[in-house]
Amino acid sequence: MSAPALDTAAWASPWRRYSPGDKVLLSLGLVISALVLPPWPASGLVTAIALGLILGPGRVPPHLLLRAARGPAAFIVLGTVSIAITWRTSGFGPTVTSESLTAAASTLSHAVAGTSAVLLLAATTPMTDLLSWARRRGVPEAVVDVAGLTYRLLFVLLESVSAVRSAQTARLGYTSRRATLRSASGLAAATLTRAFDRARRLETGLAGRGFEGVMRTVGEQQSSSRSFELWTFASLALVVAVSLGVA
């Protein structure tokens, strides 16, 4: 697995300068509007606003957005199909009714709108900014520290997983089902031992820099922006007003 597209996008986004809190408010506001309002036109509006902001002012390259959207797309399609298909009361086998199709369509539009709104937050906000924000909002220090280390170490481990896997592939490690299982277990075991080795070495490294149980740092300064918040409320109000008007 290469570096997650959303992470790459988030670190490069010009929207990084906005406070994570502001972006959480906007993203969750859009998700909730899409969920509680009737799917048409609320979901469409939310999708349009979210994708417009991602590609417009958020300046996320379209190919990164596409790569990021591939994962959820598979689940959404599979889930939608299973709602669209229903069982007959008489006769055998699955069928499709107008009722089940309506249900599927409304779920599909909710899912697309909700996912787009979450992508807006994910593609413009690096995890470290969200974690510092969580720390300021009273999430226990220990939990934020563990999450921060998880985030740092997962890239170190991802790099090692992909390197080991490509070495195994080169030595024909994934050419049969049996070999694949053997390779996968070797990879998992190697990754686990490496993870703990990393932790131990990092502990020594941090001790040298005066780590005595507190993991505080001084990082980015993003204060919330009045105008960003005003725009957020305006867009949410627009979505609500148009949806209720149409309905």
Partner: protein
């Protein structure tokens, strides 16, 4: 088994081309050094050669077999060519040395007996027989590097591509690694070594390949590594032997046609004067 690369281009999605039309001819049994600064596309080239990356366009063939990126094509290619990455820990994922070295031959579908023989042979070539029963995590860095090479050698590839085989080694371990490569060379294996060490490249290689901004130049080490435009463009320094020898030729200390390739040949020339 000659290796040929023709018109190789590669670009990551949404990015500029990393390789822009690379042509290489690697004669069977030769020693080739690939030089290039970080970001020159060296790793990408190595990974294309190994089949791990699929080029955007262009062809790679070993012994006349063109690399095709389907299951059987990749399998055949991997019998012919093996890449050894810089960090040996990427290649060592089993609990013991013997198990790790046997991984490739077992996947090649060889009999248990044949696998054993291959492992012995590979460990022997790398002077690592005494390590066979040790757990991999107890080995020194230099030992791990040798075992990683043995793991690829056990598959008997015709071409061995090595990324920085001497990096991070102390001088003694570096010499052991170069000696092991000499044994593989004698045995007929084609060796391609990517390195940052221009002095080693000059001393070791039959031909060098200098990579810069996605294109390559291939030629004789003493010529390419003595050319100001080539060195500047690739952000390489001139091997010291070439710089010193040039000055000594100009001063008439050594003969005008002397072309020493390493410290010992330069010292030998100076002893004769």
């Amino acid at each position: 088994m000659n290796t040929e690369v023709a018109g190789l281009t590669f670009a990551y999605t949404g990015g500029p081309p990393v390789l822009a039309g690379v042509d290489l001819k690697i004669p069977s049994g030769s020693r080739i050094a690939v030089l290039g600064a970080n970001g020159s596309g060296k790793s990408t080239l190595l990974r294309c050669l190994s089949g791990a990356l699929k080029p955007t366009s262009g062809r790679i063939s070993v012994g006349g077999h063109e690399l095709r990126h389907n299951r059987s094509g990749l399998r055949r290619h991997r019998h012919l060519l093996q890449l050894i990455t810089q960090d040996p820990d990427d290649q060592l994922f089993s609990a013991s040395v013997r198990e790790d070295v046997s991984f490739g031959p077992v996947n090649q579908g060889l009999s248990e007996e044949e696998v054993r023989a291959r492992c012995e042979e590979a460990l022997d070539l790398l002077a690592a027989t005494h390590l066979a029963d040790r757990p991999t995590h107890q080995l020194s860095f230099g030992e791990r590097k040798r075992v990683a090479i043995a793991s690829a050698v056990a598959m008997r590839p015709a071409v061995l591509v090595l990324d920085e085989p001497t990096a991070g080694l102390d001088p003694a371990a570096g010499i052991e690694a170069v000696d092991a490569l000499a044994r593989l060379h004698e045995q007929g294996t084609t060796l391609v070594m990517a390195t940052h060490d221009v002095d080693l490249a000059l001393a070791w290689a039959d031909e060098v390949v200098v990579l810069s901004r996605g294109v390559v130049r291939q030629g004789a080490p003493a010529e390419l590594l003595d050319s100001d435009p080539v060195l500047e463009e690739a952000r390489l320094r001139r091997p010291w032997v070439l710089a010193v020898a040039a000055r000594l030729r100009a001063l008439g200390v050594i003969e005008a046609e002397s072309r020493p390739r390493d410290e010992s040949s330069l010292l030998a020339l100076l002893a004769r004067e």
